[in-house]
């Protein structure tokens, strides 16, 4: 089980990082979603992997239990990452509607640069 969980986290992370490095908004969003899945599973396993054990102490016996805290942490993390992904989708949509394409890159030409000016030679571009 450890191998499956560990390699699952590994593949999700690898895929997430790969997708996040794409230049279009949609793959980047998918990549971040995959990364957040990976981190959720990772957080879950940080309380050690256990099967068929309750996350509560049993006062009537010496029953083993699994650590409940990572489950609470994962719940928080899921809620936050879900909300953040929704925000990101709205941002990407907004940027797409404003710019007409879903490039993550900025072209570096600000709107302020649009007016033709003879002193344009003085201009040093700082953003590639």
């Amino acid at each position: 089980m450890e191998l499956i969980v560990a390699s699952g986290i590994g593949f999700l992370t690898a895929g997430g990082v790969y997708l996040m490095l794409r230049l279009r908004a949609f793959p980047v969003i998918l990549g971040l979603a995959m990364l957040s899945y990976a981190v959720n599973v990772f957080l879950f396993s940080s309380g050690r992997l256990a099967v068929n054990m309750p996350p509560v102490l049993n006062p009537y016996g010496d029953a083993t239990y699994t650590d409940p805290l990572p489950q609470a942490l994962v719940l928080t993390a899921i809620v936050i990452s879900f909300g953040m992904t929704a925000v990101l989708v709205m941002f990407a949509l907004g940027a797409f509607l404003e710019a007409g394409d879903d490039q993550i890159n900025m072209d570096g030409q600000g709107e302020e640069l649009d007016d033709p000016d003879e002193e344009k030679d003085d201009l040093t571009e700082t953003r590639a």
Binding site: L43, L73, T76, A77, F91, G110, E111, D122, L123, T126
Partner: protein
């Protein structure tokens, strides 16, 4: 006293939804609520700072659960100073945003502003790394909204990059927390400090990974090399008052490094040793260099100011990276200074930028109305940021350099700071003379040109700035002057904060022991 500790978090958290739901159609009402809330926040944080000045570490246990199990907020000198800094800065920025009408150019400015304050204050007060993550997310999600306030193509694209960058950072934060929990079984900072000390050096692999992951996360927030690249694009494209408020957000990263990497992963920890210093110090030097060259090379006003913020982060981190009480004192003084210096510059730049036809473009144009006034504001901010007397930047840099006297690092640190300052001065002088000085030269050439229709040399008819619009920028400069005048008491306070910070056992006992710290 005890319940006031949570007030800086609760107050904005209550005001924000009221503004968002009840007052969203009435900007006047929203402004009144927002200003009232921020004024109350200033009053509360002043009270907290006075209380913390006694040197006691107050722990506030939510629901009165005992410390490592429940959530704690911790108030000591450092966190009190940080929330005070936040609230004062917020008041100035809010004033500017209202006076210049920035807040009415999009929706929900005031609600987002209050949520942002909630996140920042929470991040400064929390005594639990997972809650630090939660408050980071609160301040980030509010900052996403503020960043794209008033919209526009450039701003949305820059905003998208900013969100992606920070979401990646949040994921990394969670990985770090997972590793910490798996290794130590706790996320409470005080409990962590005790448990990490007990980890023997031969078992240190996991905790070292966690320390470095956390460092990278905080470096993203603090815009340090190699993860500084989001800052110039974000600050340059954010609305200027928002950029001024963001001056405190980079400080959240620095605060987190100071807090966590001093108390938990401090230099005396057997399992960590000097790992953090080894990486932080060179990163700070490169950050400083990037900032200085960026200031020199920027073609527009807002990127120029953004790079000067990067440079100041580098200077601050040089002092943080050595992890001695003296250097941390210097870093804290410089932190307060650089927050206000950045805010002063962004507020002044907004006044200038909104009046020039070319915006923030660094080309000579006809002078704007009240050219001299804006030139003076910009000049004051630039003096502070570059670190020249009489404003507090000079004292701050002097303190930082004085605390970096160790022979191994002195040549690197001093030459980086001094050369960085020189480049920053040149960059600011160049920008200032193009915007404010060459433009008057254009006007003097006017009779020779004799061409009245040449639009480039006609004074642009814009409204003169009212006293209300100029006041926040001016007040920020006054605060910078006060920081220099009252450098003695402030440094004494910061010395106390640093001493408290390096007394990890005092922190641990006042948070963990039930009778202590209230």
């Amino acid at each position: 006293m005890s319940h006031w500790i949570i007030a800086p978090v609760i107050l904005p958290a209550l005001i924000a939804p009221i503004i968002a739901f009840v007052m969203r159609h009435d900007i006047t009402l929203a402004r009144i609520a927002s200003v009232t809330g921020t004024l109350a926040l200033v009053a509360i944080t002043v009270g907290l700072t006075v209380a913390a000045d006694s040197g006691e570490t107050f722990a506030y246990r939510l629901g009165n659960w005992p410390a490592p199990f429940g959530i704690v907020l911790v108030l000591d000198r450092l966190s009190a100073a940080m929330v005070l800094l936040t609230s004062v800065l917020a008041l100035l920025v809010l004033w500017h945003a209202i006076a210049t009408g920035w807040d009415s150019r999009g929706r929900h400015f005031h609600a987002l502003f209050q949520f942002q304050l909630m996140g920042i204050c929470g991040a400064f007060l929390t005594g639990d790394v997972f809650n630090l993550f939660v408050f980071f997310e609160v301040l980030l999600i509010a900052s996403y909204g503020l960043m794209i306030h008033a919209g526009g193509r450039e701003r949305l694209q820059a905003g998208l990059q900013y969100v992606v960058m920070n979401l990646a950072g949040s994921t990394l934060f969670l990985f770090a927390l997972g590793v910490i929990y798996a290794t130590t079984g706790t996320l409470n900072i005080a409990d962590l400090a005790a448990k990490v000390q007990a980890i023997p050096p031969e078992d240190s692999a996991m905790i070292r990974v966690a320390a470095m992951l956390l460092l990278v996360v905080f470096m993203i927030k603090g815009a340090l090399f190699p993860v500084q690249f989001w800052l110039p694009a974000t600050y340059a494209n954010a609305p200027a008052p928002v950029a001024a408020l963001f001056a405190i957000m980079t400080k959240v990263g620095v605060y987190a490094i100071i807090r966590v990497h001093t108390i938990v992963f401090g230099p005396g920890t057997p399992s960590i040793e000097i790992l953090v210093q080894e990486w932080l110090f060179p990163a700070a030097i490169v950050t400083l260099a990037i900032g200085a060259f960026g200031v020199l090379g920027a073609g527009r006003l807002m990127p120029l100011l953004s790079f000067s913020v990067v440079g100041s982060m580098g200077t601050m981190m040089l002092a943080v990276a050595v992890f001695t009480p003296e250097a941390t004192t210097a870093a804290l003084y410089y932190l307060v200074h650089s927050t206000f210096a950045a805010a002063a510059l962004f507020l002044a730049a907004d006044l200038v930028k909104s009046r020039r036809p070319g915006g923030g473009l660094l080309v000579a144009e006809a002078p704007i109305i009240q050219n001299g006034l804006f030139a003076a504001l910009f000049f004051g901010g630039a003096i502070a940021m570059a670190g020249m007397p009489p404003l507090s930047g000079f004292l701050g840099k002097l303190l930082v350099m004085d605390s970096l006297r160790m022979p191994a690092i002195l040549p690197w640190a001093w030459s980086a700071i001094l050369m960085g300052s020189l480049l920053t001065i040149i960059g600011f002088a160049r920008a200032g003379s193009i915007i404010f000085w060459k433009s008057t030269a254009l006007l003097e050439d006017l009779p020779e040109n004799a061409d009245q229709t040449d639009s480039a040399v006609v004074i642009v008819a814009t409204k003169p700035a009212t006293a209300m619009e100029v006041a926040p920028a001016l007040l920020t400069l006054v605060i910078l002057g006060m920081l220099a005048v009252f450098a003695g008491p402030i440094t004494t306070y910061m010395e106390g904060a640093a001493a408290q910070l390096f007394d990890a056992s005092g922190y641990v006992s006042s948070v963990l022991e039930p009778g202590q710290g209230r």
